[in-house]
């Protein structure tokens, strides 16, 4: 069987498609099949049919859960890939990692934050919440602010991306007022800052009716004291 054969249509072509789908071809036969896959739709269909024909064998394999960290790496890669292909606001958000998982997690985080806020304490002030999004369908960055301690907690799909030399900065915008910085909410390499202490003067601006916003700023934060980069997510401040 070492002689070269020329595959025409019919059973021989189908056999070539099968060998190609199986992955056993080499040399001239492989070149012929590779070329034909792109030039001959019928041949390409035969290859696909063969690729699917033996696949049910894999049903016998017992499921094995992959390590959890794959998911994070994976969504980072897929999201980054997507941003190359499409424009829109998310295109500037390649540092916005784990975005999909966050949607599913949103409810849980809201519940967790609400529970955390209901811990018994002497006459606590009601905490404020905000869910910051790029648009109604985008995942949320969840913020909880405790007016008793002026402590701000952040949870959400921020992650690392060395390719993007920008830092997300959080702002509070009082109704009719100018944005005031609450601080950087991730390190330069994208690690989310889980909490920020807000100075009392700025803290007073966080109340119902105010807006929180995240902008992308140069490393170290906005050089001017006002947002300079694109605003990537906003949300209204609410109390429960």
């Amino acid at each position: 069987m070492s002689q070269e054969r020329k595959y025409e249509d019919g059973p021989e072509a189908d056999l070539l498609a099968a060998e190609y789908a199986l992955g056993v071809l080499e040399g001239d036969a492989l070149s012929e099949a590779s070329a034909r896959v792109t030039s001959d739709p019928a041949f390409a269909a035969a290859v696909e049919a063969w690729s699917l024909r033996l696949i049910p064998l894999t049903e016998a394999l017992a499921e094995i859960a992959p390590p959890a960290r794959i998911e994070a790496g994976l969504f980072g890669a897929a999201v980054a890939d997507q941003t190359k292909e499409s424009g829109g606001i998310w295109a500037s958000l390649s540092f916005w990692r784990g975005a999909t998982a966050a949607l599913a997690a949103t409810t849980l985080i809201v519940v967790a934050l609400a529970l955390a806020g209901s811990e018994p304490a002497p006459a606590p002030s009601a905490p404020y919440f905000a869910a910051l999004q790029a648009d109604a369908t985008a995942p949320s960055v969840l913020i909880r602010f405790d007016p008793d301690t002026n402590r701000l907690s952040i949870a959400g799909p921020l992650g690392a991306d060395a390719a993007e030399p920008a830092q997300p900065e959080l702002w509070v915008i009082p109704p009719g007022g100018a944005p005031r910085s609450l601080g950087l909410i991730a390190s330069v390499d994208g690690e989310l800052t889980p909490g920020l202490d807000v100075d009392p003067q700025t803290a007073a601006a966080i109340s119902r009716g105010a807006t929180l916003a995240i902008s992308l700023e140069p490393p170290g934060g906005s050089p001017t004291g006002a947002p300079t980069g694109p605003v990537v997510a906003t949300g209204a401040v609410r109390s429960l």
Partner: protein
């Protein structure tokens, strides 16, 4: 795995729905990891292949056609292709393991209970092959090896390996024809 649900998720992924992508991952990653691990045999390489697989899925979800393939079969095909692509890329620099792994694809009791009709048919057809044909076909299917690599690994003449695998493919085609 529920075909209708998985097909709906693939459809939503084709519209760049990240939540659906996450759900699809949760529903299918253990199955697809088993497929890539079976091919790569190395856990860490299998993880890379799984990542390739889902990246490809994200890109290629648009091309999924429910008329042509069951969703789970289509996903497994993408997983197998991702794993085999990786094997090929590493092959030139690495010697092949000359020791053939014993093939044990006897379905576990749970797996046979949920096996699809297609899987039952393929397995029946496989049983119609001689043990050598079935062994070489499965080795090629999971190995991503070329004819000469299979021949070298099995210690058999190239011509024999070619004709055995071709014969098994022809038999499978005849057996699986509707």
């Amino acid at each position: 795995m529920d075909d209708t649900r998985v097909a709906a998720l693939i459809k939503r992924v084709s519209l760049a729905d990240r939540a659906a992508f996450s759900e699809l991952y949760d529903a299918t990653s253990a199955k697809l990891f088993a497929v890539v691990l079976r091919i790569m045999k190395d856990r860490s390489e299998a993880q890379d292949a799984l990542q390739d697989c889902y990246t490809n899925l994200w890109r290629r979800a648009k091309s999924y056609d429910e008329q042509r393939a069951r969703p789970v079969a289509w996903l497994a095909m993408i997983a197998r292709n991702a794993a085999i692509d990786r094997l090929r890329r590493r092959r030139p620099t690495e010697a092949l393991d000359p020791i053939a792994e014993p093939v044990d694809d006897t379905p576990s009791p749970e797996a046979s209970a949920i096996e699809s009709n297609e899987a039952v048919r393929v397995r029946k057809c496989l049983e119609g092959l001689t043990p050598v044909e079935a062994g070489l076909l499965q080795r090629a299917f999971y190995g991503g090896e070329s004819y000469s690599e299979v021949a070298a690994a099995e210690g058999r003449p190239l011509g024999t390996v070619k004709s055995v695998i071709r014969r098994s493919l022809i038999k499978m085609r005849r057996c699986l024809e509707p």
